[in-house]
Structures are given as structure tokens and as C-alpha cells.
């Protein structure tokens, strides 16, 4: 199982690097999907199939689709790719990459320790997940619910139709919308 873990995490890292370095936004998002899928496999290899499935459903299946949706609407052309190319300079990526290298070093140290604490063998079943969600972390779940509700109310408010000012020719059929 640890081989699967290493392969998938390598793919995740590689595809994330590709996300950053692509100029064409859609290609970057495609690599982001691959990265999420690799992350899901990583979860699976760590014994969390429920989290893996949710990772695919929520992130790969819904959120990135929305990203692509927005990028498609923006109708980005070759000029944007050129612009991206100009933005991707040494001083832009140096800082984040140093910080992530530090993280990588930390992870390497942790993994190379004699007594690795990670890699639990036990599989976490959906039942356990839900029990801990609705038992231990009930307040967090409720708070997240509030947050999402705020989002929904906000979206409904923004999406609500303003008072219509119809041309007088169109006012014959008030129910026609």
C-alpha cells in the first residue's frame, strides 16, 4: 500500500507543479483535476475511502468544473497566455517555492524518522466518519452549516430578479417572463 501512496503523491506533486507552470488556464485546471484525483488515491492508500470519494465528488467533480465554467466564460485567448508568461518570473515563484521546499524537507525528516507516526493501517469507515462528525465535532458541523446558509442566502439575494421595467409593448402579458 505504501508504494501506491508514494506513486500517487508523486503524481500529485508533479501535476501541481504543472498547474503552476501552465500558461493556458484550462490546461492548468486539467492538471488541477489530476492533482485532486492523485490526492484522492493518496487518501485511499491511507485508509480513508470516504474522504477519497468526497475529494473526487466535491473538488474534482464540482469545484474545478465551476472554475472551468468561469474560465470558459471569460474567453481567454493567446494574449492571456502571453500575459501569464510574463507574470511567471523568478521573483514571483521564488518565495512560495522556498516555503514549500521547507515543507518538503519537514516531511522528509518525518518520514525518515526511526519511528514514523503516520501511515495508519486501519480503514476509516463512513460510519466512523459520520459518528465523529455528528458526535465530537457537532458544533463545527453546525457552524459550517451556518456559513453555507449565509452563502446560499447571499447567492439567492444576488440572483433575485430586480424590479422589471418592461417596454409598454411587452406589458400585455405580465406573466411572460
Amino acid at each position: 500500500m505504501s508504494l501506491v501512496f508514494y506513486i500517487s503523491s508523486f503524481i500529485a506533486i508533479l501535476s501541481t507543479i504543472m498547474v503552476i507552470t501552465r500558461y493556458q488556464p484550462i490546461h492548468a485546471l486539467l492538471y488541477l483535476v489530476v492533482s485532486f484525483l492523485a490526492l484522492a488515491v493518496t487518501f485511499l492508500s491511507l485508509g480513508a475511502p470516504f474522504a477519497a470519494a468526497l475529494q473526487v465528488i466535491v473538488y474534482a467533480g464540482a469545484i474545478v468544473v465551476l472554475f472551468i465554467f468561469v474560465v470558459m466564460m471569460l474567453n481567454l485567448g493567446k494574449q492571456t497566455a502571453q500575459q501569464e508568461k510574463e507574470w511567471l518570473q523568478l521573483r514571483a515563484w521564488l518565495g512560495p517555492s522556498i516555503l514549500s521546499l521547507v515543507l518538503l524537507a519537514e516531511m522528509a525528516v518525518l518520514l525518515l524518522q526511526d519511528d514514523p507516526t503516520g501511515m495508519p493501517a486501519a480503514v476509516v469507515t463512513p460510519k466512523q466518519v459520520s459518528l465523529s462528525l455528528y458526535g465530537e465535532y457537532i458544533i463545527a458541523v453546525e457552524l459550517v452549516g451556518f456559513l453555507l446558509m449565509t452563502g446560499i442566502v447571499g447567492a439567492a439575494h444576488i440572483g433575485k430578479h430586480k424590479k422589471k421595467s418592461l417596454h409598454r409593448f411587452l406589458q400585455t402579458y405580465p406573466n411572460l417572463n
Binding site: Q24, I26, H27, L30, V33, A40, P49, F50, A52, A53, L54, V56, I57, A60, G61, A62, V65, L66, I68, F69, M72, M73, V123, T125, P126
Partner: protein, 318 residues
């Protein structure tokens, strides 16, 4: 189960479902014709069955054209995604006791995950074609499928509550006394409607609505790439039908005079027939009607269904 047995099951499922998908070309055309007072293709071979062969050969020998303005790699990738995601979804379906490709304990979630990945074929295909009709189709497809995925997942949670498992084998076993269609009729209806929207079949074929968007997201596709979308659609129908049977109609369960696999496929073919009947009879809704119907009617309904199911389950337990 030995490795050899496992490989045989995988190959068998692949063989059976790819053949069903191909055979559906004929089934759909014949049934549509019969429902429209015609006869349909009946010339090539017995009952016109060789139309499948003729269609496939035609698709293989057509020019496989990639438009110069398209994004080449994404254009090629898109049709592969639809077939791959649907075939992955077929992996968790139990056809009979013990005959299942992957007996996952989160099988239902896996199915939802794979059906949600299917969106990419439409979105990427439509975007990579670099054509305004394709793009419109892709936009519609993306919003429709994301919306209906929500109801699909929520409508299945009632089943999960009653069977207390995400494993499809357990879900079928939990229906030994009573099929879930009896206890979860609302869940079934919403799942079936969401399945229609998810496979973008008529009447919900808004992403490819040929009378307004030419062919929507696959306007620019030809040859076998178009064939992949075609096969993917038929595989999607088979997948949704098989899932409906597994979740609400007792899967392989049935009177003992027929083997379980036969029962499973009989029920599946019944639902495939319903899919085709819906195509023959129902008109396509407008895009905003579809979205409004989903968010304003199906979402409250499915949440209510969930609430009532949970309450009754708790009441029965105490």
C-alpha cells in the same frame, strides 16, 4: 476469489456492457420507430441487427477530423473521459451474489464520484472545439450536471439510511423483504430524473439540443471520437438503469426459477426501455425551466424526503 476469476469478471463485465451499448444503437432506433408508427432499420441482417455493425464501420471509416482552431489534446481527451468514467462506474455494480468487479465499502460514493467526473467530457469537449455552439452546450451541460448531481446524491441518501451501508451488495441484500421502491418512491423518482439529466438524454438533452445548438458540445466531433460520445451515452443509460435496479428494484433478487443475473438484466433492460420511451414521448424543457425545476422543486423535495426517511427510521428504531 482468485486473481484469474477476478480478471474473468472484469472482462465479462466489459464485454457484456460494451455489447449492450452497441446493441442499444439498434434497440433505440427500432423502439423509437415502433413508437412513431414506423418499422425502423430492418434490412441489414436478421431483424436489421447488422445496423450496429454498419454504423460502427461507418464511424470507423469516417474522416476523424480535428479542426485547426481546436485545442488538439483536450479535444482528443474529452471523448475518452466519458467512456472511462462510465466504465469505472460500472465496476461497483453487483450483478449477482459474488459477481462484482470492485466490492468497495463506499461503492455508492464511488459511483457518484465517477458520474461527477463525466461532466469533464462535456465541458472540455465543448471548450476545446472552440466553437460558440459547442461552448454554449458545454456551459449548459456543466451547470445542468453539477445541479443534478446534488439531487442524485441526496436522493440516494434515503436508501443509505435504510440499508445502513454504502456497499451496493449490502444495499441489495437489505431489499430481501421489500424493495426500496416501496419505501423510497420519492427517492426513486428524483434519482431517475437526475439520472436522465446526468446522462443528458432526452428530454434533458439540453447540452446537445440539436434544434437550437446544432449538436451542442460534440458539433465538431466526427468519426470514432463522436462514436465514443455515442457509446458513452449508451453506457451511461445502462449504468443509470443498472443503478436504479440495484438501489430501488432489488438488484438480482427475484423468484428462484431464473438465475439472479437474468433477473438483474431483465430489470435493467426494462429501465433502458423506459429511457427510450421518455425520449420518444417527452418534449425538451427550456434551459431555465430545467434549472428552476431542479433547484426550486427537486431540492426541497429531496431534502424533505431525507428528513421524513430519517424520522421514520429513528421512530422504528426506538
Amino acid at each position: 476469489m482468485t486473481v484469474m476469476q477476478h480478471i474473468w469478471i472484469v472482462l465479462g463485465v466489459l464485454f457484456v456492457f460494451l455489447n449492450i451499448a452497441a446493441g442499444l444503437i439498434w434497440v433505440e432506433r427500432r423502439l423509437l420507430a415502433l413508437w412513431q408508427d414506423r418499422l425502423g432499420p430492418n434490412r441489414a441482417g436478421p431483424l436489421g441487427l447488422f445496423i450496429v455493425l454498419a454504423d460502427t464501420l461507418k464511424l470507423f471509416f469516417k474522416e476523424d477530423w480535428i479542426p485547426p482552431f481546436a485545442d488538439k489534446w483536450v479535444f482528443i481527451l474529452a471523448p475518452a473521459i466519458v467512456v472511462a468514467s462510465v466504465l469505472m462506474g460500472l465496476a461497483i455494480i453487483p450483478f449477482a451474489p459474488g459477481i462484482v468487479v470492485a466490492d468497495l465499502n463506499v461503492g455508492l460514493m464511488f459511483f457518484l464520484a465517477m458520474s461527477s467526473l463525466g461532466v469533464y467530457s462535456i465541458v472540455l469537449g465543448g471548450w476545446a472545439s472552440n466553437n460558440k455552439y459547442s461552448l454554449l452546450g458545454a456551459l449548459r451541460g456543466a451547470s445542468q450536471m453539477i445541479a443534478y448531481e446534488v439531487f442524485m446524491g441526496l436522493s440516494l441518501m434515503g436508501v443509505v439510511m435504510l440499508s445502513k451501508s454504502f456497499n451496493l451488495g449490502d444495499i441489495v441484500a437489505a431489499q430481501k423483504d421489500m424493495w426500496f421502491i416501496v419505501t423510497q418512491p420519492v427517492g426513486f423518482v428524483i434519482f431517475f430524473i437526475a439520472g436522465l439529466a446526468e446522462t443528458h438524454r432526452l428530454p434533458f438533452d439540453i447540452p446537445e439540443a440539436e434544434s437550437e445548438l446544432i449538436a451542442g458540445f460534440h458539433s465538431e466531433y466526427s468519426g470514432m471520437k463522436f462514436g465514443m460520445f455515442f457509446i458513452g451515452e449508451y453506457l451511461g443509460i445502462s449504468l443509470i438503469s443498472a443503478m436504479t435496479v440495484t438501489l430501488f428494484f432489488g438488484g438480482w433478487l427475484g423468484p428462484a426459477f431464473l438465475p439472479p443475473v437474468v433477473w438483474f438484466f431483465l430489470k435493467t433492460f426494462f429501465f433502458i426501455g423506459i429511457f427510450i420511451l421518455m425520449r420518444a414521448s417527452l418534449p425538451r424543457p427550456r434551459y431555465d425551466q430545467l434549472m428552476g425545476y431542479g433547484w426550486k422543486l427537486l431540492l426541497p423535495l429531496v431534502l424533505l424526503n431525507l428528513l421524513v426517511t430519517g424520522a421514520i427510521a429513528l421512530w422504528l428504531k426506538s
